[in-house]
Symmetry: C2
Subunit: 220 residues, 2 copies
DNA sequence: GATCGTCTCCCCCGCGCGGGGGAGGTCCGG
DNA sequence: CCGGACCTCCCCCGCGCGGGGGAGACGATC
């Protein structure tokens, strides 16, 4: 079965763009659209999409409130991908705190958009992409970085994966982690790959950064 | 001229071992020994060693006080490498705060010992080796991690190197850093290598960890 | 009993990374 | 005027890393 997506944005142009990009994927299907947050709940209930691509700035009900409403009222809610124009959008920050699973810049390349949708659908959290980093930079001054922390928590690492990430964050190589955990090197590679995928990280360095930013590991 | 070292340890066995290992290097010369901290100052004044390999736990004057005394009273003081038996030695922590440039576990392999001496002599800070990481783990609960911060500050990165490290800590690849700084990829490699050497890091991940641990970059 | 998630290990492959050299340029200070 | 520090770029080389697959074993859940 295909990965179903509901688009929520007040601009038809944006919805059309997203639909064009996503529907071009054989395994992704846009099952509905909404122009404001108020229309989201009934649509989600009826269409039961896997992912909701939600604009933050919308009339009537913004993306933050809409996210909260969906997560509060719908059983087994969809994954929510927040869509925004600006990387320094404080609404995005709020949306992540409200329970969104990741976010996406409108100017992202089509492949990135597709990737983001797939990632959140699979349970990942898009914690790392450059856009998120900038967000973290901006709001990094606040304690504990709830957005990053929430995103990482929602990444739902398995126990083993969390263990591997902790060791990565101590600077260990795959071989060293394997020795420490008394498993094969190939096994560690599997776990590391899983961690990178779930965190939306490109390499172990980015994963470690995410670990620090989220408070998963603490420097102090 | 060779790299000159002064050994300070109350156990003759340890001094003999260090001397054997270090004197085996063509470019390193052990120019003197002391059995306790009280004897260090005059010896340093007379021998003007490049590096002092200093035990922390000693009678009369321990390594911390000796370190402070040397740094306070000797103009152009030598680099101080703290030698210890235990990785969780709170004295080592104090010594780093007192101004020591790095530390060394007695059980380290000869190559590591030689490497450590060369590194601090060249202005590096041995911020990262596994032993230090464990230290950081242990005393990591204290704010700002003064030991790590002090060590990194003393690593004396050039402006460019610091810039590169900051970008590394944002998850950028060498190619991305090159694009950002508008220089060649080979140039970035040079800077990255310099950073790794000065921090005693094995790879960029460890360097980024050091950056976080030291407060050079802040997650919050 | 069947299914799913997790952990484990295996293959192949390409590329980025880091180490080892070296070398030219500027600019500053002795 | 001549080092020395710094930034820049170049070469070669090996290996670790990460992506792409797949597969078997186990326990929990349905």
């Amino acid at each position: 079965m295909p990965l179903t997506v509901l688009l929520v944005d007040d601009e038809p142009l944006v919805r059309a763009g997203l639909r064009a990009i996503l529907d071009a994927q054989p395994d992704i299907e846009v099952v509905g659209e909404a122009a404001d947050g108020a229309a989201v709940i009934p649509l989600v209930r009826r269409l039961r999409p896997d992912v909701v691509a939600m604009d933050v700035r919308m009339p009537l009900l913004d993306g933050i409130e809409a996210t909260r409403a969906v997560l509060r009222t719908v059983p087994e809610p969809p994954r929510i991908l927040v869509v925004t124009t600006f990387e320094n959008d404080e609404y995005v920050y709020e949306a992540l705190r409200a329970g969104a699973d990741g976010f996406l810049l409108k100017r992202a390349r089509p492949e990135e958009i597709v990737h983001a949708v797939r990632l959140v659908a699979e349970g990942g959290s898009l914690l790392f992409p450059a856009s998120v980093r900038r967000l973290v930079d901006t709001y990094g001054a606040e304690r504990g970085n709830p957005a990053a922390r929430a995103a990482l928590e929602r990444a739902r690492l398995t126990e083993r994966e969390a263990e591997v990430l902790r060791l990565m964050a101590r600077g260990l190589s795959n071989a060293e982690i394997a020795a420490r955990l008394v498993v094969g090197a190939e096994t560690v590679k599997s776990h590391v790959s899983a961690v990178l995928a779930k965190l939306g990280a490109r390499d172990r360095t980015q994963a470690v950064i995410a670990a620090y930013e989220s408070g998963f590991v603490a420097p102090e």
